[in-house]
Symmetry: D2
Subunit: 164 residues, 4 copies
Amino acid sequence: MRKPIVGVMGAGEEATQQDLSQALKLGELIARQGWILLSGGRSTGVMQEVNRGAKQVEGSLTIGILPQASAAVSEFVDVAIITDLGQARNNINVLSSHVVVACGAGGAGTASEIALAIKAKQPVILLGSDESSKTFFQRLSQDKIFIAETPEQVIQIILDNHLC
Amino acid sequence: MRKPIVGVMGAGEEATQQDLSQALKLGELIARQGWILLSGGRSTGVMQEVNRGAKQVEGSLTIGILPQASAAVSEFVDVAIITDLGQARNNINVLSSHVVVACGAGGAGTASEIALAIKAKQPVILLGSDESSKTFFQRLSQDKIFIAETPEQVIQIILDNHLC
Amino acid sequence: MRKPIVGVMGAGEEATQQDLSQALKLGELIARQGWILLSGGRSTGVMQEVNRGAKQVEGSLTIGILPQASAAVSEFVDVAIITDLGQARNNINVLSSHVVVACGAGGAGTASEIALAIKAKQPVILLGSDESSKTFFQRLSQDKIFIAETPEQVIQIILDNHLC
Amino acid sequence: MRKPIVGVMGAGEEATQQDLSQALKLGELIARQGWILLSGGRSTGVMQEVNRGAKQVEGSLTIGILPQASAAVSEFVDVAIITDLGQARNNINVLSSHVVVACGAGGAGTASEIALAIKAKQPVILLGSDESSKTFFQRLSQDKIFIAETPEQVIQIILDNHLC
């Protein structure tokens, strides 16, 4: 049986300090559950911190789906998948994950991933999101959008709803 | 000199009657300007009507970017580009257009296209959009999001802001 | 009814003088038939010359499927589709064409397009190809590979076999 | 430091008995080196057997890059990346691998992967290939194509040439 994959999306250079600290904790908690972490794989922002958190746990596995061969890969990514697809790779991120977590309000890239996940009928958890994002995405999907305020709540939502 | 390309995105099966009538008019107005119309190319919803509108104008040119080879192509599409990329083709739609128009509130597919357009720093016009969409996308981009209520306003915004 | 699309593939910077002159003539002959020309769209090699040839004919239509937004587009391309997919765009080229013509022996990019066309069960015409290419691709497909020595023969093969 | 990734490509339903037995052994030998195995991930042909071989080794890691969400995934794949890109995913396979091994003569899909690997200047090892393939691909690349007759030779070539 394949281990579940949790995809974590979020801002790169524009991530806030809270986004980063929540990403770090979230990565660790995902790894402690024995789940595989999937992200955009770059060495910045939410991507960097969530992978750093996961690699604090022995036996963790982190997958990075990179937009270009030239993108700097996080040193906490175990397997780097080089797509050379630019932002079209965002669809791979959400299709390959059993559940998608948007960490922080994010920017346009994260928004595209949430929208693509809803389009693909994948469950999405918004962690620490802003009001306009919650309102907008809950209009797009009544039953697949979950709201969390802490990394611990993300894990609880996944377990309670059998998303993995 | 290549003619400008205007990309029109919007709902398929879930389009409202107002979405459809605005799409029909918008297609005609784009074609009257001598601009090329680009869309998702399927024979349903906003895609079907905007192409129908454009083909009422002699000399018009309509391009459809299809998700799969098996997708039914609108009979009003002159050139069908078969991507077999699923929703990853949405990024091609926005990169290939000089300006992206979201016709109606749209669903998750349209939302992903608006987000990808903002990510690529392309101008986006929201036509007949709902409040939650306007609020959300204006948070993502202050200076590249334009609001229109009628197809005529879309054309005026493009001309006034030299978007084509 | 949509006009047929003929895809012409071939070397960029490494094209030989014979490749270039055959591409120029081929583009003209495709356009004279009223067919749409599709190519990789860059301003070099076979792509540049085949589009130049087509645009010598009034009413012709040329589509370029570009690998990146930064690629220099041939001035003889009427519609530039920006994929940002790198070489993954090669699959779009072959899926969108009713018949694929490989002009010259070509390099690895052209070889990938011929192979992808065979995989998709599209007809392929090898124009001015070398012996190792003919032998190799005829092993991969008995009934979908055609051999031509001149641009005029390409047109004749398309007409005789109703490939468009 | 990330572990090296070896990509193994080959026929699905059309694989010969020799292709299958070589794939099984090759997967085992790759895993014994501590390298990560990457493949097209489907539960058939070379893909199935190479993953089966790798999973006979404790601590092995197998990555499958699937063309569609609907494709049957090999039960020996640890991480399934769902691309929904059809054959465009072939470019991801070769870009993500440090070295590409074509196991058996293969069909058009494998040929496209070898060509894309050469285009991307990745090293390629042809294992148990036929003469027309060797001749053709050695014309496309003088210095990046290696020839092997056994799985053991593949490993030796990788080690001798520091391809991983």
